[in-house]
Amino acid sequence: MIRATQLKKSFAKPGSSKKNDKVLAVQEVSFTAEDGQVTGLLGPNGAGKSTTLRMLATLIKPDEGNAQIDGFDVQHNIQEVRKQLGFMPHNAGIYPRLSARENIHYYARLCGLKRSDARQRANELLQQLDMESFADRRSAGFSQGQRTKVALARALVHSPQTLMLDEPTNGLDVMATRGLRNIIRDLAKQGHCVLFSSHIMQEVSALCDHIAIISDGKIAMTDSLEGIKTKTGENDLEDAFVRAIGETP
């Protein structure tokens, strides 16, 4: 379970020499993502989705506000948060000279699994995500779909309760997207908390039980799909989204 409260983060302006010249990336971000549900963080490009996820993943420290992952504070219980959390950034970031199996095995070992356990865990994930056909090939020539699967397997390697995926369907074809959706639904059914960010309406409406709309670094609205449609008085998520971020459709 993820609970974010009034997160705020600003960065030094690139190329600016002044110390106080800052860009406000995220302000007033509060939302909750429950276990057993898929929560969508929906927002246009540059809305602050990745910054929010990075703060939740303990990669950067929020300037203000706080957040808990399964009850652990992201600023004070960093290692505990990391144990609960599987994070897949928007670029797969896998090692091109290692095979799919080696990529997963490496992460398993880094998470503290013994050699034999790591091997077994890698086998499980390769099977679960249907990757056996390319398990022992070097990743350099992988398709986007294959790369995403490897990255997802790595994020799941320590069996985290909470999973965060940053724009996971980017660059995937229809079949790969559908495959990934099924995997995400299964994970939620097993009781995991899944938070995933996207700027694609269809994606969110097809998959999410709960939606947080983010715009200009602020959460504009957070509710179930039906709730958002009711609140905005729009029948279509796209129109609802446009209304939620303060524009007229």
């Binding site: 303990t58 950067i60 420290k61 970031g93 000279r97 290692l98 880094l110 998470c111």
Partner: protein, 388 residues
């Protein structure tokens, strides 16, 4: 102990990278010694004259100076038929030098006047100038003999004209070439150690940022200190491997050096090379730490290569500084990494005794600098900015 997991992964990963392997296993250990050592061997051979070696000399009008020919022959010169156009032959390089006995030679000699000889030389050609030096040296010796005979003939002691007796003794044990050779070992060893870890360090730090594989890595339940230590360890292994291979190849290279050219004072036998490697070994950790830390500062491989490229001057600096400056206070530079190892390696090769204090200061200073660099790297990895 998770840093070992990181370390082994980086080693395996980089062993699959042709560029890294080329620089670690081939460039430093094989190509550099061959290119540098080879060119030094060749230039030394060109500089030195071997009076014991029989060399041919083309002479025009040899029949006009039979005594001179006999003298040359007894001094390991094989007088041969001269080409038709001596000047062109020398210019083209067909004959290195040609000696022409002028037609008036025997008359002048008999009359007690300077007897004319012409030596055709091409100063643009090193082989020609070297041959010319040899021939001139022999002709001078012949002239001294004739001078002495002429004076004795007139009842004068030839020593009357030898008012000075200059004897020149080179007291450095190794001569001019030896100093250069003595600094060749530290130069090769240190450069190849740097090159050995260069690409691995860039790949594991800046490369990881560039591939965007750092972000998921940092979100794992793993201490960043272990991450840095793992990457440092992998770089260290490559630097060490490169150093060991270079020591071996330098050992074999010096088996080809003619000992009379090196000078008797230089040692390149197996125990000396082994000792040199031990003296230089604290540098392995230092070099690995510098490479990791500097490339951790940078955002991309290209940026890292630029920074480290500039930094490459530093390991070379002591080599050039010590070529020009004779440092009197050795004790003061002992705690400085690189500088001290250069000095100690030179001493080792020259067979000078090394005080224990020097070794302690050198190793101690280098280890402190290494620890400092590693702390900086760990700090760099703990900042938000590492992901930006």
């Amino acid at each position: 102990m998770r840093f070992l997991v990181v370390m082994f992964k980086e080693i395996i990963d980089n062993l699959r990278d042709k560029q890294t392997v080329f620089y670690a296993l081939l460039f430093g250990p094989v190509l550099m010694p061959l290119i540098l050592g080879g060119s030094i061997i060749i230039s030394l051979k060109q500089l030195s004259i071997d009076f014991d070696q029989v060399t041919p000399l083309a002479v025009v009008n040899a029949e006009l100076a039979p005594n001179l020919m006999t003298f040359l022959h007894s001094n390991n010169i094989d007088v041969v038929e001269a080409p038709d156009e001596p000047e062109k032959a020398v210019r083209r390089g067909d004959s290195p030098v040609v000696l022409k006995v002028m037609p008036s030679f025997s008359d002048a000699l008999r009359a007690g006047k300077p007897a004319p000889l012409t030596l055709f030389v091409s100063d643009a050609d090193k082989k020609s100038t070297r041959e010319a030096r040899k021939v001139v040296a022999l002709l001078n010796a012949y002239e001294r003999t004739i001078n002495a005979l002429r004076m004795q003939h007139r009842g004068i002691d030839p020593n009357v004209f030898n008012s000075l007796d200059i004897s020149r003794e080179d007291v450095s044990r190794d001569g001019a070439g030896g100093q250069l050779l003595a600094s060749l070992l530290p130069f090769l060893l240190i450069i190849s150690m740097v090159m050995g870890g260069f690409y691995l360090a860039i790949d594991t730090t800046a490369g990881e940022r560039e591939r965007q594989s750092l972000e998921p890595l940092l979100s794992l339940p793993l201490n960043r200190r272990e991450l840095v230590l793992g990457k440092f360890g992998a770089t260290l292994c490559f630097v060490a491997l490169s150093g060991i291979l270079t020591s071996i190849s330098v050992f074999f290279l010096f088996q080809f050096f003619p000992t009379d050219l090196i000078g008797g004072g230089l040692h390149f036998d197996a125990p000396t090379i082994f000792k040199s490697f031990l003296v230089a070994s604290p540098l392995i950790a230092f070099i690995a730490a510098v490479l990791i830390t500097v490339s951790a500062f940078t955002r991309s491989s290209k940026e890292a290569q630029t920074y480290l490229g500039v930094l490459m001057v530093i390991p070379m600096a002591p080599f050039f500084i010590l070529q020009f400056v004779t440092i009197r206070s050795e004790l003061a530079i002992m705690p400085i990494p690189m500088m001290s190892q250069y000095q100690l390696l030179e001493r080792t090769v020259l067979g000078d005794p090394i005080p224990a204090l020097y070794i302690i200061l050198s190793a101690g200073g280098t280890f402190i600098a290494t620890a400092f660099m590693l702390l900086v790297a760990i700090r760099l990895y703990s900042r938000d900015r590492i992901l930006m």
